[in-house]
Symmetry: C2
Subunit: 255 residues, 2 copies
């Protein structure tokens, strides 16, 4: 108790004096708020940083997995157009996303010293895949599930990957393949555990447009009504619904 009382007396009386600085308990208690705020800021900083690294790590695991499967048997691996497509996607669109959140140092060094596929390689590999699909009448579901061949295996495509393929066809005004891959995206979406990766309405939106472009107005209308079931105030879908109904009415009256 002797020390306790002395400390208390000494410190409350601001006796921790040295030259111009002083560190009274009042002063320290005031500075203590800085520490409380610092802890908060560091906590949320760490949380964000760990999330960022988690994304980088997930990407790393995907490409490490790809390397394990392809290394030493590149011809077999890339012989499957799904693998060729996914590989090209990883080093183009996916890497652009990672590059932004990882170190600039890596990105600069990699960009200077290593050849990456171009964005045209990426769309090219998707279009080549669809061409093979036509030539050999490959079933989209089988292709998406990696089941086209014993020797040239690929993994299963996710809903978002099917959607990406559909998007490339769509951008290329290839509505025939847009239909196939958007339908496949829809089917995969039902099975996917992670349903947030692609929005069902986005798939249906592309599906409706591609269907109408392929001349099937009744189906385009049905898909549009499905969009409105999910999002009743979807403006484009409301307009399209009227538009398709008009077209169908005119077709019927014209025939």
């Amino acid at each position: 108790m002797f020390y306790v009382q002395i400390f208390y007396f000494l410190l409350v009386k601001s006796l921790l004096v040295h030259s111009e600085s002083f560190t009274s308990i009042t002063h320290l208690t005031y500075l203590f708020n800085t520490e409380v705020e610092l802890a908060k800021q560091l906590e949320s900083y760490l949380h964000e940083e760990y999330e960022r690294l988690d994304r980088v790590e997930k990407f790393l695991n995907i490409i490490k997995d790809e390397i394990r499967q392809a290394q030493g048997k590149e011809e077999n691996y890339f012989g499957n157009p799904i693998n060729a497509y996914l590989f090209t996607k990883h080093l183009t669109v996916d890497w652009y996303g990672i590059e932004e959140i990882a170190s600039r140092a890596i990105s600069k060094d990699m960009g200077d010293n290593w050849i990456f596929p171009s964005f045209e390689d990426y769309t090219g590999s998707a279009i080549a895949l669809m061409r093979l699909q036509d030539t050999y009448k490959l079933n989209t579901s089988e292709l998406a599930s990696g089941e086209i061949s014993e020797n040239f295996k690929s993994r299963k495509l996710t809903a978002v990957e099917c959607y990406d393929l559909g998007r490339i066809a769509y951008t290329n005004k290839d509505f025939y393949h847009t239909l196939m891959w958007m339908q496949e995206a829809l089917d995969q979406l039902e099975k996917d555990e992670n349903k947030t990766s692609v929005n069902k309405v986005d798939i249906l939106d592309h599906l409706a447009y591609a269907t109408s472009q392929q001349g099937n107005l009744e189906h385009a209308l049905a898909v549009t009504e499905e969009i409105l079931n999910i999002v009743p105030d979807h403006v484009r879908a409301m307009n399209n619904k009227e538009y398709y109904e008009d077209l169908i009415r005119n077709q019927t009256s014209g025939s």
Copy 2:
């Protein structure tokens, strides 16, 4: 086997052609080296990043622990000069170290909006501690082990923290307290599990000089010889050994 052969034929012949881009197996296999290198670079990037965040997290845990102990009972907590010293150290020297490896955004925001103790507050709190130590004849070991009082507890100081206190005394030409705290650093070093945090030779080096300044040449010589036992080619220690031996010889012959 049908598809297999077709794919092989198609792809080896570079048939994955679209406009100007082409993605033959040869081309993909070439680009595959980029992926292998990318995986390596990302792996070491992640490793470094996790290490960096680990340091930030360790600091965060130290200050969170401090907050838990001090909050709501600030007067008791800061009533112990060891706590006042450690707290000030966390928000000055330790934070400067973390600031460099954490986000500039936090550091800027904190610096603009919150008051941190100054470096003088830091050395001031160490010197105040030593002054209290003299006034109330507090035993250094008891102080370092947090055992001076029931009501104003502090945690145990590590070897490096005792060394830091000794360094402040040393820089202040206060060799009396340098001796006390360097000796305490040495004792703690024997007990510390993490012996890499401070170098024994650095402690001995300060101890020898402070001892000689306090006039105990025989002990300064003994400590210097202990340095040479650890690092036989320690240049300053070799010179000091001769110097102390000369001084002792002259003292003896002069007396």
